[in-house]
Amino acid sequence: MSIVVQEIEAPRVAGRRRLRLLTKRFLRRPMAVGGLLVALAFVIVAIFAPLLAPYSPGHTDFDAVLAHSSSKHLLGTDDLGRDVLSRLIWGTRASMQVGVFATLLAMVVAVPIGMIAGYYRGWVDQVIARLTDVLLAFPFLILAVGLAAILGPSLLNATLALGIGSIPGFIRIARGETLTLREEDYVPAAVLNGANDATIIFRHILPNMTNTLIVQATLTIPGAILGEAILSFLGVGVQPPTSSWGTMLQEAEPYLTQAQRLSVYPGVAIILAVLAFNVFGDGLRDVLDPRTTR
């Protein structure tokens, strides 16, 4: 192979140029772009749910109970005569809320812990790493169900439970990244310039692991969306009459034989949303994190 004496790459190549390069690389992956578009669509639907939904999610139409799709009710109605499309749209809001906020919560709690472990190492790190390993294999569902039992079932508590459940994964990532990044040359350079630990952690290490964190976040959101559906379905998450994809499935279960479509629509919504985020996250990882590219 001919070539290429490569320049040692500086940790951050000039911002705008790099962004353009990454965008170009990302656009070359049609799957990932599709994932992003669909995910964005879900977010927009969630934000503008009140404007988009033809009916209020609680509005009951007793003339049309378990109705098939019609011009009046595009996806039909459920056992109480509520418009399925409207409930799906409002359900998007609940699911996205849980997905995004649970992920943010996990990130805010986990990243500092992981960075402290990775930066200071020693026994602190040992303890944190062991605990993370234990928690990583702990069934989040039992944790979430337990939390719901303690705090009572609600959208907020489901978010809390799922957020807590996602913490170990983030700790592990943040710790691993910090362990590598603190070995980089610019850390001792910063120390020589009189930077203290906090400056190094937040000014030098954190910005360099944002890529990895963004990827992990994109891949945590779908997990939380799935989790919300499971919790609500089991009756320990979002409570009826609030509409979420999980509660819709729970309410549809008794009508499995008469009105299968009531179970199909929310399921398809979940799959689409989760798939979109997963595909987008995978693509993003390929673009941002060349180490894992293949």
Binding site: A137, P139, I142, L249, S263, V274
Partner: protein, 298 residues
């Protein structure tokens, strides 16, 4: 490890609001009964003493009694095998489906079959298994009448038993097959790019030995570790699947216990999960060292 888990369990359960003595005495509000319960579980003593007492009894196999005054140990012992059977069956399904597809897609990387299979796996990851369970019930039980929609028959009637567990096991197994396949594919791709695989090719070995001997053995090492980490997801999956299919296993017991705030039962259940966790990790370590000579000789 187990000690930490049991303390967390104990503390967590005690954090649930409500008076455990009243809960344990069930509907019986008779102060004498409550006092007796309190005495038995030392509920008037400080928490560490209570904890010590609980552990002491648990080690002897006595997990206490639940709200209906039934032995927690017995309840768990009767429900656990059902879930273990379900877990074993679904693991078999996922290994049979996941490992070969992972290997094949890695070898055929970039070909249409690879894209198709990885696409299906991605969908498999995105489908909630409880929903897949619902759809499976609609299809195979309601529409086609091939298999029962749920319930459980003991292993005394092996065929009926399998018939009842087949659908749930496949539904659960498919989800894990997707995880397994993706993991297998990526570690096979890693292995296939290594120097020792190049050496194996240079030796003139057949593609079969290169892939299935040299690359596969090394990929299994990473896959085993990842499999251990999937235990939590497996338990979560079993819980939901048991609820959907109305299987009276350990998973539905867990949900019931939590919903009824049955303290002793919850404690017992979580303790069993913790033990299971330790055992599985031990197994993973054993398999790992069998596969990896670098660990074996140290």
């Amino acid at each position: 490890m187990l000690v930490v888990a049991s303390i967390v369990v104990f503390g967590g359960v005690r954090a649930i609001p409500g008076n455990p003595a009243i809960a344990l005495g069930a509907e019986n509000r008779d102060p004498a009964v409550i006092a007796a319960v309190k005495a038995k579980y030392l509920l008037d003593k400080p928490l560490p003493v209570q904890y010590g007492h609980w552990i002491w009894l648990a080690v002897q196999g006595d997990l206490g009694v639940d709200q209906r005054q039934l032995s927690v140990g017995h309840t768990i012992a009767s429900r656990l095998p059902i879930s273990l059977e379900l877990a074993a069956l679904s693991m078999i399904v996922s290994v049979i489906v996941g490992i070969p597809t992972g290997v094949i897609t890695a070898v055929r990387r970039g070909k249409p079959s690879d894209y198709a299979a990885t696409g299906v796996a991605l969908i498999g990851l995105s489908v909630p298994h409880f929903w897949l369970g619902l759809m499976a019930i609609i299809w195979f039980a309601v529409d086609l009448h091939w298999l029962p929609a749920g319930g459980y028959v003991t292993a005394h009637h092996p065929i009926a038993n399998l018939k009842h567990l087949l659908l749930p096991a496949v539904v659960l197994g498919i989800g894990f097959a997707a995880v397994l396949m993706r993991q297998m594919r990526s570690s096979m791709l890693d292995s296939l790019g290594t120097d020792y695989v190049r050496t194996a090719r240079a030796k003139g070995l057949s593609e079969w030995s290169v892939v299935c001997k040299h690359a596969f053995r090394n990929s299994l090492i990473t896959v085993t570790t990842v499999l251990g980490l999937q235990l939590g997801a497996l338990i979560s999956g079993i819980v939901t699947i048991e609820v959907i299919f109305g299987i009276p296993g350990f998973g539905s017991l867990t949900i019931d216990a939590i919903n009824q705030r049955d303290y002793t039962l919850i404690q017992g259940v979580v303790l069993v999960v913790a033990c299971g966790y330790v055992i599985v990790n031990l197994l993973v370590d054993v398999v790992y060292s069998l596969l990896n000579p670098r660990i074996r000789t140290i």
